[in-house]
C-alpha cells in the first residue's frame, strides 16, 4: 500500500533512492574484509546533505525531522545494502544533541567526520537495557566506566554511546574510541564485516543527559535503535522480494514460467504479506511517536516482528531461487546475511518477545 507523504518527505526519499543507486550488492561485496568496510567519504556526504543530523533540532543546526523521515531514509539504506552506518550515526547524533547543551563531538558527527555508534548490549540475548552491568564511578568532570559491551558496530567508529549503572538510575555516556581504558576485540560478521566487543576499564566518559520528553536516555536510544534497525530490515525485505519476483517472472521449468505455479505464487504472497505488515507497522509507529519518546512496547513489537519476518522472507527468497540462490555468486544471499545481522542486533525476535511479555503486562 502507498504511503501518504508530504512533498518534503518525497524529496528526501528520492534523494535517498539516488544515494543507494551508488550502493547495492556489488559495492557491499567490495567492502568484504575491508577496514573500514564502508566508504568514509560517503558517510561525510550523508552528513553534508543533512541526513546524519536529521533528528537533531534546528537549534543545534540539525534538520529537526522526525521518525517518518528516518524511516524513509533507512528503508532505502536497507534496500541498497548500504554499508555506511547512516542509521546508527543519525540516532547517535540525536542522542548527543538531546540534552540542554549538545556534546562537543556533535558537530563532527553530524557532518560525518566522526562516527559515534550506540554500545548498549551486554549479552546479545535481549538483556534489559535498563540494567546494565557496566558501572559508572566518579563525580561530574571525572566519570569512569568499567564493563563490557557486546556486538558493537565499531567499524570505523570514533566514539560510543554507552549505558552504565551508577548511584542513580542507569544513564548514557559518551566514550571516545581512543580514551584510556577503552579496548576493542573484533569478530567477523557473516557479511565479512566487523562487530566488536568493547572493553571499558576505568574509561573516562561524559554524561549524556536525557531529552526533556524521555524518561531515560538509555531507554530512548535503545528504542530508537530498535526502530532504526527495523526500518533497514523493511528495506532488505522489500528488495529481496523484488529480486525474487523478477526471477519468478523469467525462470522456466517444465516449459512454463515458474511464477505461474500456484505453490510458488502463494509463497510469494506470503512474502508480500510480511513486507506490507512491516511497512504499515514502521510508518504507523513513526507517525505516532516522538524521536525521544517511542512507546517501548511498540518498539519491541516492531523489532520482534521485523526480525522474524525478515529472516522468513530472505530464507523463502533463497528457496524460491533454488540452487542458484544458495551460491555466493548470486545476490539474494547477501540479503539473508544482512537480515541475519540486523535481526540479531539489540535482541532478536525471541529476545524481544521475552521483553514484550514483561513489558506489555501479558501475564498480569
Amino acid at each position: 500500500m502507498d504511503l501518504h507523504l508530504t512533498s518534503e518527505q518525497t524529496l528526501l526519499r528520492d534523494s535517498a533512492v539516488k544515494f543507494i543507486q551508488a550502493a547495492g550488492p556489488k559495492v557491499a561485496r567490495a567492502f568484504r574484509e575491508q577496514d573500514p568496510s564502508f566508504a568514509p567519504e560517503r558517510l561525510r556526504w550523508a552528513g553534508e546533505v543533512g541526513w546524519l543530523g536529521m533528528l537533531v533540532p534546528t537549534s543545534a543546526d540539525g534538520l529537526g525531522l522526525g521518525l517518518t523521515e528516518l524511516a524513509l531514509l533507512l528503508e532505502q539504506a536497507g534496500r541498497g545494502l548500504v554499508c555506511e552506518p547512516i542509521g546508527f550515526a543519525a540516532i547517535s547524533a540525536a542522542a548527543l544533541a538531546q540534552g540542554g547543551t549538545p556534546h562537543p563531538v556533535l558537530e563532527r558527527v553530524m557532518t560525518g567526520r566522526a562516527l559515534v555508534v550506540p554500545a548498549l548490549e551486554e549479552s546479545g540475548y535481549g538483556d534489559d537495557p535498563l540494567s546494565p552491568r557496566t558501572q559508572m564511578v566518579g563525580e561530574a568532570g571525572a566519570l569512569r566506566l568499567t564493563g563490557q559491551k557486546t556486538f558493537v558496530c565499531a567499524d570505523g567508529a570514533d566514539g560510543f554511546l554507552v549505558s552504565a549503572s551508577g548511584p542513580d538510575e542507569p544513564a548514557l555516556y559518551y566514550v571516545a574510541r581512543n580514551a584510556r581504558g577503552c579496548s576493542l576485540t573484533t569478530t567477523q560478521t557473516v557479511e565479512g564485516r566487523k562487530l566488536a566487543t568493547l572493553g571499558l576499564a576505568q574509561a573516562p566518559a561524559d554524561l549524556i543527559p536525557p531529552h526533556p520528553s524521555s524518561r531515560n536516555a538509555v531507554e530512548a536510544l535503545y528504542n530508537l535503535a530498535l526502530m532504526a534497525l527495523s526500518c533497514e530490515l523493511l528495506g532488505v525485505m522489500e528488495r529481496a522480494q523484488e529480486i525474487t519476483l523478477d526471477y519468478l517472472r523469467i525462470r522456466k521449468q517444465f516449459g512454463k514460467l515458474i511464477g505461474s505455479f500456484q505453490a510458488l505464487q502463494h509463497q510469494a504472497v506470503n512474502i508480500y504479506v510480511c513486507v506490507e505488515a512491516i511497512r504499515s507497522l514502521v510508518f504507523q509507529i513513526a507517525a505516532h511517536n516522538e524521536v525521544f519518546d517511542i512507546d517501548p512496547a511498540m518498539a519491541i513489537a516492531l523489532k520482534a516482528k521485523a526480525s522474524e519476518d525478515a529472516l522468513f522472507v530472505t530464507e523463502a527468497c533463497i528457496q524460491l531461487h533454488g540452487a542458484i540462490g544458495f551460491t555466493d555468486e548470486h545476490d539474494i544471499g547477501l540479503y539473508l546475511k544482512r537480515a541475519m545481522l540486523l535481526s540479531s542486533l539489540f535482541g532478536n525476535a525471541a529476545a524481544q518477545r521475552r521483553r514484550y511479555v514483561a513489558l506489555a503486562n501479558i501475564t498480569a
Partner: protein, 383 residues
Amino acid sequence: MFRRDTTAESHFRIEVRTWLEANLPLALRGRTARPPPAELMPWYQALSRKGWIAPHWPKHYGGMGATLNEQIIITEELARIGAPQLPAQGLNHIGPILMKFGTEAQKAQHLPPIIAGTVIWAQGYSEPGAGSDLASLSTRATLEGDHFIVRGQKIWTTWGHHSDWMFALVRTDPQAQPRQAGISFLLVDLRSPGIRIRPIKTIAGDDEFSEVFFDDVIVPTENLVGKLNDGWCIANALLGHERLASSNPQFPLMALERIKTMARASGVIADPAFQDRLAAASINVTALSALFSHAVELTNNNQSPGPESSVIKIFASELLQTLNELLVQAAGGHASTQNPITTNFGVVDVAAPFLQSRRVTIYGGSSEIQRNVLARRVLNLPS
C-alpha cells in the same frame, strides 16, 4: 494502539466507553455466536439512535462521518467491552455500493432503513456450483417487460433466514464471454412470492447461514443496480472496502482478551513457551492494527485500497485462527467441552469461537483465492 489519543480524542474515547458501559446489555457482552435478531437488533437500533452505527458513512447518508482516529477508537472500545458482531451486509456492503452506483430512488428507499436497523440485508453471491469460481454462477434473471423473472439458488447466505432484502448477482446473459460480462446486480425483496429459505447448521452449532431458492421470483427492473450485465464490476468495485471493513482488529482484540482470561485461569500463563506464542500473537494484533489504520488512511484520502486489501483479509483471518488455536491450548482439557467454561476469572467460551473462526479464511473469498488475486493482480506473476 500505537497511536496516542489527543485530548479531544481521549474525551471522545471516554464518552464512547461510558455510553457503552451504560447501554450495552450485559447479556450481549462477550458473546461469541451472533445473537438472534430479536436480541441483537434493539442494540443495533440503540447505536443508531446514538448516531454511532455507521462511523465510516458520510453524514448526509446518516453516517457519522467520523475521522479515522474516531473510527479506531470506536472499534477499540467495542472490543474492550465485548460488543456482539452486528449484521454488516447493509452497513459495509450494499450501503456503500448504493452510495456509489445506486439511483436516487434506490438510495432514498434503502439507505435510511440500514442506518435505522429496521431492514436486514443478505448477500446473494455464492451458489452450489459457484463458490471460489463465482463467475460461473447460474441463477438466471430473465428480463420480461418491466420486471425480471429470477430462477435458481443461492447458498452460504449469511443470516439469509433473518433478512428482509438480498443483493444478488444473477446471470442475465448466458452466452456472454467472458462469463463475468453476463452478470447483473439485483436487489431482491425476500418476502416476494417464490422464495424459499432454509437455514444451514454450521460446525459451530449455529445457523449463521442458509440457502435461498428462487422459483420464478418477480423482481421489478428498478431494482437493477447499475447497467444490465455490469454486475460483476459493481460487486468488485468496493471489494477493497469490504475486505477492509471485515478485517478490523475488534475481533482479534477480543480473542486476545479471552486467551488471557483462560490462560490465567488454567495457569498456562506462567509457561514461558505459551508466553512466547501469546507475545507473538499479540504483536501480530498490533501489526493488524497498523495495516488497518494504514488502509483506512488511504481510503480517507480517496485512494481505493484496491486488490492490495487482500493482504489485510489474509492477515486478519489467519490471525484470528491463530488466536483461537492459542485459546484452545490455554483451555487444556476444557477445550473439548461444548459449553462456556466457568473460571475464577470469568466465564470463557472456548469451543464455539474456535469452531466459528474456521470460516473466516473461507468466506468473502478464501485465503487461497485472495493469494491468487494478489499473485496475479498485485505481484504481476504470470498465469
